[in-house]
């Protein structure tokens, strides 16, 4: 069995960086290159009755990672995210609204090591 390859690092990413316009910044590609996982935030064209339950699920899952010491950042922004995170007691992580892939890669690469990790003797959780 191959060893678990997780990075313990997760970026909450606004939809416009997951599904960028032509010539836009593809944060998923940058995350793949830099070894970060992605949690996508709901698309801006969803009405509140669709977006809010999706945001609540993002927050609930972020809470599980957060309480186990995984590293978090926010890429872009999403209305309602701060409120959804607050409801589960998770602060809004440090963030960036990048203009270029290099800027995002530099930001992700410069983050401190997360508290969780195999080398700290912790398990996946």
């Amino acid at each position: 069995m191959k060893p678990d390859a997780r990075s313990f690092r997760i970026a909450l990413v606004a939809d416009r960086y997951v599904n960028p316009p032509p010539d836009g910044l593809d944060a998923v590609a940058v995350a793949a290159q830099t070894g970060w996982g992605v949690m996508q935030l709901p698309a801006d064209d969803y009405p509140p009755e669709v977006a809010e339950p999706l945001l609540a699920e993002v927050a609930e899952q972020a809470e599980e990672f957060w309480r186990h010491g995984y590293g978090f950042v926010l890429v872009g922004e999403r209305a309602g995210l701060a409120e959804a995170l607050a409801r589960v007691g998770v602060p809004v992580p440090d963030g960036i609204t990048p203009q270029t892939s290099a800027q995002l890669a530099g930001f992700l690469g410069g983050r401190p090591a997360p508290r969780a990790g195999w080398d700290t003797g912790q398990t996946a959780g």
Binding site: K2, R6, V18, G37, L54, A124
Partner: protein, 179 residues
């Protein structure tokens, strides 16, 4: 072009059960195909992560199929079905990309073994892989049916299936995208 609703772990391998993460974060073999074909990506929630946590054991469908887990998946499925509904009403093509062999996210292969339970020791093997859908996928099917929306075409990431072949996985995904 359309919208691919993808299993959470395809963008975030940190959500995998322990020893299950194939890469650091983004599982590129699936994402690359969707990018190449010009499909939007919509990430579904991971049903097991929030319910059974990061320290969960591997499990078969019968172990997870409790009333409480069904209610949890029903809640997630309603959120996903509402999003799919928006896309369908806009006339966009939709596919679901799951994880074959998963008790929750399998789209044509799930894991089943009615006898499995108790002390978590069993031989490595594939006896639990059977045709069928995982629990969240079943709930999405039902939530869409309530809205009068047909179930989308599906494809699955096959890393957990014996004999996994990335070229075959890619061909299956491309076939689903092309309809």
């Amino acid at each position: 072009m359309g919208v691919a609703f993808v299993a959470h772990c395809l963008l975030n391998q940190n959500s995998k059960v322990g020893d299950g993460a194939h890469c650091a974060g983004v599982y590129s073999p699936v994402v690359d195909v969707l990018r190449d074909k010009g499909w939007r990506i919509e990430q579904m929630p991971c049903p097991e992560l929030a319910f059974t946590g990061l320290n969960r054991f591997w499990a078969v469908k019968e172990q997870l199929d409790t009333a409480a887990y069904r209610r949890h998946c029903e809640r997630l499925a309603e959120a996903v079905a509402a999003a799919i509904s928006v896309r369908v009403k806009k006339g966009e093509d939709v596919v679901i990309v799951g994880v074959e062999g998963s008790p929750s996210m399998g789209v044509t292969i799930t894991s089943s073994d009615p006898l499995r339970g108790g002390r978590p020791e069993w031989p490595e093997g594939t006896a639990e892989h059977v045709s069928g859908e995982g629990i969240l996928v079943e709930e999405i099917r039902e939530a869409l049916a309530k809205r009068g929306i047909g179930f989308p075409r599906v494809a699955g990431e096959t890393h957990a299936i014996p004999g996994h072949d990335e070229a075959v996985q890619r061909a299956g995904l491309e076939s689903a995208l092309e309809g």
